[in-house]
């Protein structure tokens, strides 16, 4: 039986969600199989269930409109959630950033 590979994915949450999840700084999660935005968010919500509904809609699983996903200076927000993440994220060299729209005027 082949055990699917596990990648350690670094994630940077916006400050409000770090507070909600009671974490400080960057977090690192084990993601089984090919890391994608969907599988990373699945792992994130499994570890921090209070984040369910805060990044993607409970029902539609659509990204909340004021949030975007970045990695390696690329905007992944409009990619399919099942697109494999860049190698640098999978290797742990770069984090996946979840960013909120800038507030202010």
């Amino acid at each position: 039986m082949t055990v699917p590979p596990t990648a350690k994915i670094r994630i940077i949450l916006p400050p409000h969600l770090r507070g909600l999840a009671h974490v400080k700084g960057e977090i690192c999660l084990d993601v089984v199989g090919t890391p994608t935005v969907r599988s990373v968010l699945d792992a994130l919500e499994a570890t921090y269930p209070m984040l369910q509904g805060t990044i993607r809609d409970h029902v539609t699983q659509q990204r909340r409109p004021f949030l975007r996903f970045f990695a390696c200076e690329e905007d992944l927000s409009h990619e399919s959630p099942d697109t494999p993440l860049p190698d640098a994220v999978v290797s742990g060299k770069e984090p996946l950033l979840i960013l909120g729209a800038i507030a202010g005027g």
Binding site: L20, A21, H22, A46, H58
Partner: protein
């Protein structure tokens, strides 16, 4: 020794203000949930140290918080940190921030549409919880009024929520429309003499009542007259801003409508205007003295285009006659250059012998009168804009 606990929701966090029964020296705790909008907090009448809070954000959506120690510590009831999200059988565990409209044929009508600003039909979309109303007797039962307008109930202390879909499925839904603040269900009132009766209000649909614990609802808007809608006396479509009840006389309701202060003596079946000599009958808050059910408080706001107090003077108006005859209460309140608003859930009364009255402003002040409105003092002056004020009387 009696004391009071004032629960203040603001644009950037929650604050808890406590004092003994004299209400002179205050302790301020907060901000709790710093940076988040706290639309409403309310304590359980059955277990006063249990407090529910609606924490919300345009970025991250809705969170429900619960404290079981009077606001010292908080949890998100359905999702303790680190626990798996499914139970042993693989079924999802409670998710306290999950508000999903009921579209099942068994319990309600399929998700319908409501009227949008331009008159077209628009699907219901959950945005936030405006108001939380715990059961009078059961600490694990709590109701939530939400935008887009609907009412949800939790029977497990806020862990999971189910819509009482008979309201949204009532049939008039396609005629409901959002006000400038959104289409929100902002008022939920339990009748202490009849556990099956609740009154709710929606901007802009009007008031509704259930007499069977939320299964079915009927509009109770007869007597309301709203010139800003095509049919001023329509069954629904009125922009009700808030309703108040004194629990000792549950059939008497007072309403601050968009314009007009109204009164019903038959649990909302019929309304009559009691604006009387108010300088303007536009406003948001309305409340009733804890021990004098004919004593009513409002804060007139200049107009729907100018959301601040008239003439730069912050004045609470009190009627001791159940409406029509109003007197301004100004002692301790700014009487020049004041241009704040007082939002619909931002007034409350305590039940101490000398009834205390509280309100919060969009300028961040929370005022208290420990003598039923005769004089006022600011408990705090510089909070973020206040969205809601509730008070618990602790004996």
């Amino acid at each position: 020794m009696s004391k009071v606990r004032v629960l203040v929701g603001t644009r950037k966090g929650a604050f808890i203000l406590t004092a003994d029964g004299k209400r002179e020296k205050w302790t301020v705790s907060g901000p709790h949930f710093a940076g988040w909008e706290i639309y409403h907090m309310k304590g359980s009448p059955a277990i006063p140290n249990r407090i529910y809070a609606s924490q919300t954000s345009g970025w991250f959506g809705q969170i429900i918080q619960r404290s079981d120690d009077g606001g010292k510590t908080w949890i998100q009831p359905g999702t303790p940190p680190g626990e798996p999200t499914t139970g042993p059988g693989g079924m999802p565990k409670g998710e306290s921030n999950k508000f999903v409209y009921d579209t099942s044929a068994e319990t309600g009508k399929p998700l319908t549409t409501h009227q949008w600003y331009d008159g077209t039909q628009h699907p219901w979309e959950f945005k936030r919880v405006w108001h939380i109303e715990p059961s009078l007797a059961e600490p694990d039962v709590v109701y939530a009024g939400v935008e887009d307008a609907g009412i949800f109930r939790s029977k497990d202390g806020g862990k999971s929520w189910q819509e009482l879909s008979g309201l949204r499925g009532h049939g008039t839904g396609p005629n409901w429309q959002p006000g400038a603040g959104g289409m929100c269900l902002h008022t939920i009132i339990h009748d202490p003499s009849n556990p099956k009766r609740m009154v709710i209000a929606i901007s802009a649909a009007g008031a509704f009542r259930t007499d069977d614990a939320g299964k079915t609802w009927k509009p109770i808007n007869k007597g309301l007259h709203s010139q800003y809608i095509p049919n001023p006396t329509a069954e629904v479509g009125h922009c009700v801003h808030h309703i108040a009840m004194n629990g000792t006389r549950p059939n008497v309701l007072f309403m601050q409508k968009h314009w007009d202060v109204m009164r019903s003596d038959d649990a909302g079946d019929n309304w009559k205007e009691v604006s009387g000599n108010l300088p303007t009958d536009f406003g948001f808050v309305i409340d009733i003295h804890a021990h004098e059910p004919e004593t009513v408080y409002v804060i007139p706001i200049k107009s729907d285009g100018e959301h601040y107090v008239p003439e730069g003077k912050l004045r609470v108006y009190r009627s001791r006659a159940g409406g029509n005859e109003w007197e301004p209460l100004t002692k301790g309140l700014p009487q020049k250059d004041c241009y704040v608003n007082v939002l619909r859930d931002a007034m409350a009364v305590d039940s101490l012998d000398k009834c205390g009255v509280y309100f919060g402003t969009t300028g961040g002040q929370v005022y208290c009168s420990a003598n039923a409105g005769n004089s006022w003092k600011a408990i705090v002056r510089d909070l973020p804009a206040v969205l809601s004020v509730e008070v618990q009387t602790l004996r």
